[in-house]
Subunit: 330 residues, 2 copies
């Protein structure tokens, strides 16, 4: 008999839910807009009703006794022991909010649902998802990096989520690798996110194209004054063979590689799973990242280095949230 | 009854030995030149005779039954399970050497001594020493940084030495924080060691002084064309109030702070113990390092940040080596 769980991934734009079984089967999934303007209480009430409705459908089908619980991922700093979410980006007005107990209370009050509930940071949960069901299955120690609007990370050590002393470990986006440089994000000069977060990539793209005469620009950007330059269009241009776009991705990859090298040096982690929308650029980033990771570490650190694409795409969150309920990863 | 152990710290210039009891008392200590030219076998034979002679004196005094063993620290990558030392810097010709079994065999062969023997990397051992007997006693998680000719580090997580997947964790000297800069050490551009290892500090000192007319240089450097500029003389000049030397230390501290911020972001470690010869500059480094560590991290990471000087000086190694024998730190 295979157990099942509900994975919930709360983001600034969408709430994703899925029913996952212990063998990695995704039995159902849904996506709803996050009711940001409803504030914490409104969102919690909304999530509770979505959870209960999904749970009800499968309770009869699979059976209550095999239900392992609800895993919930949320952005921001999470104190998972106390179930408190602090300052989630993209969820204004939350500050410090006891998300776990509030959701539990509403599930009990509105739906008489007493299931076990686990709260964890979203980047950590994506790492758990890849560890249990995805590209990190065979790795004992690895770091999952999510390249998207921001740059996030989650760390698995000895098949356990590594949270650090305050639950904020894995913030590779904050790692300063160009402390004397120009780019700044969230107050941190030269951070990985300032350089290769979405804004950083766009800035790098603009700067690179403007170094070349517009006659040689990819037709992707002809006559558009580069106002449509984005990671997506840069990716398209590079796949069409535009050498300028390829140069941009090569730099993005190298910068990622410098950041990964820092993880190798400090933590002696040598396996990396790379996901998020930007990772769609694939080998355009992966090859230079791997080369740079070697260049920025000692030869004695090169054994067993591996860089692999994430396997679960934007479902890593719900997979990981569910995984918390039946694995020993937390 | 208090147990005792022998701590041995093998370095490129000296072999240090000490008899330490479980309560942190140092009952005896010795320092001998490392017989580098004798090669691995010669050094092992030498260490074995030093160990046996020191052991013999205390065996009768304290008693054999309270002897916990021999801890040995060595530079380079250490596979402590297999007892293999790889490519120790400053010990040419060693390559990969089974130091633990060789020392064990010689102790048995020449001295009929069968005591337990533990081998560990020297930077890790200094961290263990500070953790068990020094400035890290009250910290659950911390990083020990050694600022000297090079920049090394050792990490304690949950009161256990964190080695990483290959025993090379904690190499903060290799962390690239200025990847597009000019300075390079051991092939790594912009590494912490390239910037604030001894050579980096001297280069920064020369560069800074040459920006000022020599009439305003500290008398420490009058008429000497800066050929005597070293961390030691820079420290002296700064303590005499020379603003140029103080500017240099301020930069050294800031750069250290950027590196520490990287550890905070990735590992969520917020306690740092700083030792090594350069750390003698004290607050000249500590204040700017602490300020910069805050500037290069998110405000949500600032709680509980602490930067303290090491307590055991250049004896951290022998203390830590002995500590391996009676603590649960490894």
């Amino acid at each position: 008999m295979v157990r099942w769980a509900l994975g919930v991934d709360l983001g600034g734009t969408a709430v994703k839910l899925a029913v996952i079984d212990e063998e990695g089967g995704m039995l159902d999934h849904e996506r709803h807009p996050t009711q940001v303007e409803a504030g914490p209480e409104g969102i919690v009430t909304h999530i509770a009703s979505l959870v209960f409705s999904m749970y009800s459908r499968f309770r009869e089908q699979i059976g209550e006794e095999l239900f392992a619980g609800i895993g919930l991922g949320a952005p921001g700093a999470v104190d998972s022991d106390r179930g408190i979410l602090s300052y989630p980006p993209n969820l204004p007005g939350w500050e410090r909010y006891p998300l776990k107990s509030e959701l539990h209370n509403v599930l009990v009050r509105d739906h008489a649902m007493y299931s076990p509930l686990i709260l964890e940071n979203d980047a950590n949960i994506a790492a758990c998802g890849e560890a249990v069901f995805g590209a990190g299955k065979s790795f004992r120690d690895f770091m999952m990096i999510t390249l998207g609007t921001g740059v996030g990370g989650g760390i698995i050590l000895g098949r356990k989520l590594y949270r650090g002393s305050h639950g904020t470990a894995g913030e590779i986006g904050c790692l300063a690798i160009d402390y004397s440089g120009k780019s700044v994000h969230a107050g941190i000069r030269g951070s990985v996110e300032s350089l290769i977060g979405k804004k950083g990539i766009v800035a790098m793209g603009l700067e690179t194209y403007h170094r070349y005469p517009r006659e040689v620009w990819s037709e992707e950007f002809h006559g558009k004054e580069l106002c449509e330059l984005s990671p997506r269009t840069l990716e398209k241009a590079a796949h069409q063979g535009d050498p300028i776009a390829m140069e941009v991705w090569d730099r993005v990859g190298s910068i990622l590689g410098v950041g990964l090298a820092g993880v190798v040096a400090l933590m002696d982690i040598r396996k990396f799973v790379i996901g998020g929308g930007i990772a769609g650029a694939g080998d355009l980033i992966f090859s230079p990242a791997f080369e740079q990771m070697k260049q920025s570490t000692l030869p004695s650190m090169h054994d067993d280095m591996e860089l692999v694409p994430a396997a679960l795409g934007n479902r890593a969150g719900v997979y990981g949230a569910a995984a918390l309920c039946f694995s020993s990863i937390v």
